[in-house]
Amino acid sequence: MSNITRRDLMAGAAGLAAASALGIPRAFAQEVPTYTPEEGASLRLLRWVPFVKSEEEAWNANTRAFTEATGVQVQVDQESWEDVRPKAAVAANVGSGPDMVMSWFDDPFQYPDKLVDVTELAEAVGAANGGWYDGPRGYAVHNDRFIAMPLCAIGNAICYRQSHMEAAGFSEFPNDTAGFLELCKALQAKGTPAGFPHGKAVGDGNNYAHWLLWSHGGRMINEDSTVGIDSAETRAAIEYAKQLYATFIPGTESWLDINNNRAFLAGQVSLTANGVSLYYAAKNDPAMAEIAEDIRTVNLPIGPVGESVELHQTTSISIFNHTKYPQAAMAYLAWMYDTGRMNAWIEGANAYCCGAAKGFADNPVWTSNPIHAPYAKASATLRPNGYAGPLGYASAGVMADYVLVDMFAEAVTGQASADDAIANAAKRAGRYYG
């Protein structure tokens, strides 16, 4: 097939439908298409600053191999993770700057019409790797079209001290919210309390707050974009959060993203939730060998909603349609999403990045260390931000404005009654969705 046909297919209404309409067998469409970069093409990718050095190395190694194979230079620009959003939004709307962006959460939905349709590639990659998980797919599909390639979820899981849990009288980690509360009470009684951030922690604070809400069946937004936070489920979540907060180490309402790591590694808290980086901080420090030995990880407990639901940090890659070399960009993504290379990258990320397609769960990294196991489920338990409403500017704004984090913090610290906290959150969310 010639490139022109492919480009036409991409621009068409639905790559897959068009492919079958042209009489191409469906099985053939599952093969990842190839793209021929434009003559003299060069690319710029804007990505977040890597958290794990070996992840960066793996990504760059794949990129170098692409350059060697195609002659297309790829410049990888790094921005601190919170700066990617404004930079990408400006690039998209001004129509210049990087050709591709590795962005967070619902960023692609802020400028969906400024992005190249990658449906053909995304469906092929998904099909070749056991299909995309629903959560990461939700962050990439707009009006049935892929505006981004789901990349990975930065998994969040509970990290706890096995010996402290046993000392508190638990031989197994409880997997429901009621048992979890009992565990936290017992830990506090033993002087080895838990701690989750109620401060303005962009990552950990939002992860915890969304888990509290969703595990109890609450939601910020209804399907029709009306604010749905005022519900019995939310009240139950707040009530639960209050009881849990009472067992925490004092001071969690001031915690930013790093505080729980520090407190855990110093032995001040025995249970918190974090990415796998917490474990590696202990493991890579000989002075903390004892703690590293004692760390166990587990997914956050299941609440009344009956299933494991979490936010996790999610990232995807989009191509701006202002790029001069769309074919080269497609070729680059096809290259990076090649099953072998993607697996090499996921392995490099050392359990920090959970692949967005189901096939990547077979990556040996997930079984190489039992600590990694809960993080393998990140993409499966992931629920998009702003559930159950549509993604977009409003869902992004509500999270950036800490509406949910503030709601729980107001209520658990007693600054506002549950009803007032909910009313404040509803009002602020309504501002964005209004």
Binding site: Q110, P250, S254
Partner: protein, 307 residues
């Protein structure tokens, strides 16, 4: 002819007083317009729109301001900003003046101390904020640790977790950082006061307090006016310290207008609303400037009288 009229223009521009003046004024005018007037005007305009990052807004009139007026987080941030500015400025002035007076005396190692005093001002704000972050940490605070070692308290102080503790903590950090500016500036002012005035007053039998109250303070007032104007402006628009220490938490108890403006405008993408918050700071700033310029510089006040 066109040629000669152009020649005439060049002649007028280069040879006449007004023409040359215009040319010399041009860089400053361009600078003012492009780098000061335009951004300020744009900010004011954005405050009247619903612009988001990367998306042109449409004019919505006072909608942003009406929403903000009813927004409890914004109202809290206004209270926080005023409280923060007033308390920190008063403390900085009191302690700064005191320090300046001490440094103005004949001390051993005077120059050494003067240099030391400047240190908090020299350290980049972000670095000193990070240091305070550790000092105020809910688990690892050195203050809590020392007090616990002495047996004065049994649990760490929740510096940044309890709203009023957090407010006082960020004020303490701001004061520590702001004192050198006030102290050194006032010290410079003190040294411009002729020694003979103090000596004459002393010969007339004035006590130390009377000399300070009737000689030093009136002569220092113009400097105080300028220094405190700047100090108030710096404090009112403070951002880095709050952002590093609390990001406005706990539950927005330390959110200043500047930090809220940033949170809504850049990570939140609501450029229009963020600009409106920033514009809402202008009246307060103007009031502070007008007060110090027209108030503190009044001769009557300077001479210790009243209107």
């Amino acid at each position: 002819m066109a040629g000669s009229s152009r020649g005439g223009l060049i002649y007028w521009l280069t040879e006449s007083r007004n023409g040359l003046g215009l040319i010399f004024m041009l860089p400053a005018a361009v600078f003012l317009l492009c780098l000061l007037t335009y951004p300020l005007g744009l900010g004011v305009w954005l405050g009247f729109t619903d612009a988001r990052i990367g998306r042109e807004g449409i004019f919505v009139g006072l909608e942003n301001y009406i929403w903000l007026f009813n927004d409890s987080v914004f109202r809290l941030s206004v209270f926080n900003t005023i409280f923060y500015t007033v308390v920190a400025s008063v403390l900085k002035f009191g302690l700064g003046l005191w320090l300046a007076l001490i440094l103005n005396e004949k001390l051993p190692l005077k120059n050494f101390f003067r240099a030391i005093v400047l240190l908090p001002w020299v350290v980049p704000t972000v670095l000193s904020a990070l240091a305070f972050w550790w000092i105020f940490d809910s688990q690892f605070s050195i203050i809590s640790w020392v007090l616990m070692k002495w047996g004065l308290i049994s649990a760490p102080i929740n510096f940044l977790g309890e709203p009023w503790n957090a407010r006082w903590s960020v004020i303490a950090a701001n004061v520590w950082r702001g004192i050198p500016f006030v102290a050194i500036s006032l010290l410079a002012g003190l040294q411009t006061i002729p020694q003979s005035l103090n000596e004459a007053a002393a010969l007339d039998g004035a006590t130390a307090w009377q000399r300070f109250r009737r000689v030093t303070l009136p002569l220092l007032t113009p400097i105080i006016a300028v220094v405190m104007t700047f100090s108030v402006l710096f404090t009112f628009t403070d951002f880095q310290l709050i952002y590093v220490l609390t990001r406005g938490g706990p539950v927005n108890a330390t959110h200043l207008m500047a930090t809220l403006s940033f949170q809504r405008a850049i990570p939140g993408g609501q450029l229009g609303e963020g600009a409106a918050i920033a514009v809402a700071m202008i009246p307060f700033l103007l009031a502070a400037i007008l007060f110090s310029f027209f108030g503190l510089q009044r001769r009557r006040w300077q001479q210790g009288g009243s209107d």
